[in-house]
């Protein structure tokens, strides 16, 4: 008697967005709890832990990604308002940012060009296919901009979204170690570099460290989004000529 009833409940729940929305929030909060308990150790970044847990749950229940996204889209939607909200810390740190226009501009250009050229060169040397390379180029910028760039180039936008997240997670995890090794201590410099290289996930990590680092990271992410949209088509057409 009970088994068919559970099956009925499952059929009912899997047709509604409630189930996977709730599980997404629980998975993230579980991962965040671990992260906080480990004193915000970058190696325990909550994003990859939550993603792996959710992929396992979806595979185990035989749920398609499209069905999952029906529920999770409510979380995904908040990326838009969150991007708008970046204006607030940006304005709060504006006096500081204004004094650093030249260093910020130089760092933006150096970081943006390095990200584009190095991922193409390394990916090509290791034998990645053309479609994969074109999906990889915009990896350092926030997902909506990166997907637009990949689409125009002939890459695969939904693959780009995944590569963008992989980049963000890598940046958030490794930033502390790279910056410590280079003996860079200023929170503004640290935040800006992470925002340029690792967009929103890097910015989220920077906000967990300090509000100043977060504001600089948000600025780096926004500016690199604009610059990469301009630079990538130029770089790719230059490479295609050879």
């Amino acid at each position: 008697m009970i088994a068919p009833r559970i099956a009925d409940i499952w059929v009912y729940l899997s047709a509604s967005p409630l189930l996977w929305l709730t599980i997404t929030l629980i998975a993230y909060q579980g991962a965040y709890w671990l992260y906080a308990r480990a004193d915000f150790n970058p190696l325990l970044n909550p994003v990859p832990i939550a993603i792996v847990a959710l992929v396992i749950a979806l595979k185990a229940t035989g749920t398609e990604y499209a069905a999952y996204f029906e529920g999770a889209q409510f979380v995904h939607f908040l990326l838009g308002p969150a991007t708008v909200a970046l204006a607030v810390p940006l304005y709060a740190q504006f006096d500081k940012l204004r004094q650093l226009l030249v260093p910020l501009g130089g760092a933006l250009l150096a970081g943006s060009v390095t990200a584009i050229v190095s991922v193409l060169a390394i990916g090509w040397a290791l034998g990645a296919s053309d479609a994969t390379l074109l999906s990889l180029v915009p990896k350092s910028v926030t997902a909506p901009i990166a997907m637009g760039i990949a689409e125009k180039l002939g890459g695969i936008p939904s693959l780009t979204a995944v590569l963008v997240i992989l980049t963000g997670v890598s940046g958030a995890v490794m930033a502390k170690y790279v910056l410590d090794a280079l003996r860079i201590r200023d929170f503004g410099v640290r935040g800006f570099a992470v925002g340029v290289a690792a967009h929103g996930i890097g910015t989220a990590r920077a906000f967990q460290v300090s509000e100043e680092a977060g504001a600089f990271a948000g600025l780096g992410m926004g500016l690199n989004g604009l610059l990469t949209a301009v630079l990538v088509p130029v770089v790719v057409s230059l490479i295609r000529q050879f």
Binding site: A87, G111, G127, G225
Partner: protein, 121 residues
């Protein structure tokens, strides 16, 4: 809180409309961020509710990337032959980009300090 969320959505909406209307190459929310920044600058202060709400959302910014990240399950089979190339390229390129941006910014700040130190004598 409600007012702050409405403000964020209104700016995003204006951003989306402008992007569609002028066929801009950037996403609507980025234009919305720019417009909100200009508004705050013109006003000269941040309304308290907006400050609190923005900080709350941004503290959990990484949650918002989880649904798109779960999309890895769709692409796993397609890229399984290229996993090494993709992972190595991303890790190395991200480390290089962080280092390039940080060293350039720190170098330019140091250069300016040295000049500022010399100028007045």
């Amino acid at each position: 809180m409600l007012q702050a969320i409405t403000t964020l959505l209104v700016y995003q909406l204006i951003g989306e409309v402008l992007v569609q209307f002028f066929a801009l190459p950037v996403p609507g929310p980025v234009v919305g961020m720019f417009l909100l920044f200009v508004s705050l600058w013109a006003k000269g202060s941040i309304p308290e509710g907006l400050h609190t709400t923005a900080n709350t959302i941004l503290q959990h910014l990484s949650l918002l990337f989880v649904p798109a990240g779960v999309g890895v399950m769709v692409h796993f089979a397609r890229v399984s032959g290229e996993v090494v190339a993709i992972v190595v390229a991303i890790l190395a390129s991200t480390a290089l980009a962080i280092a390039a941006a940080a060293l350039t910014m720190q170098g330019l700040i140091a250069l300016r300090r040295r000049r500022a130190g010399k100028a007045p004598g």
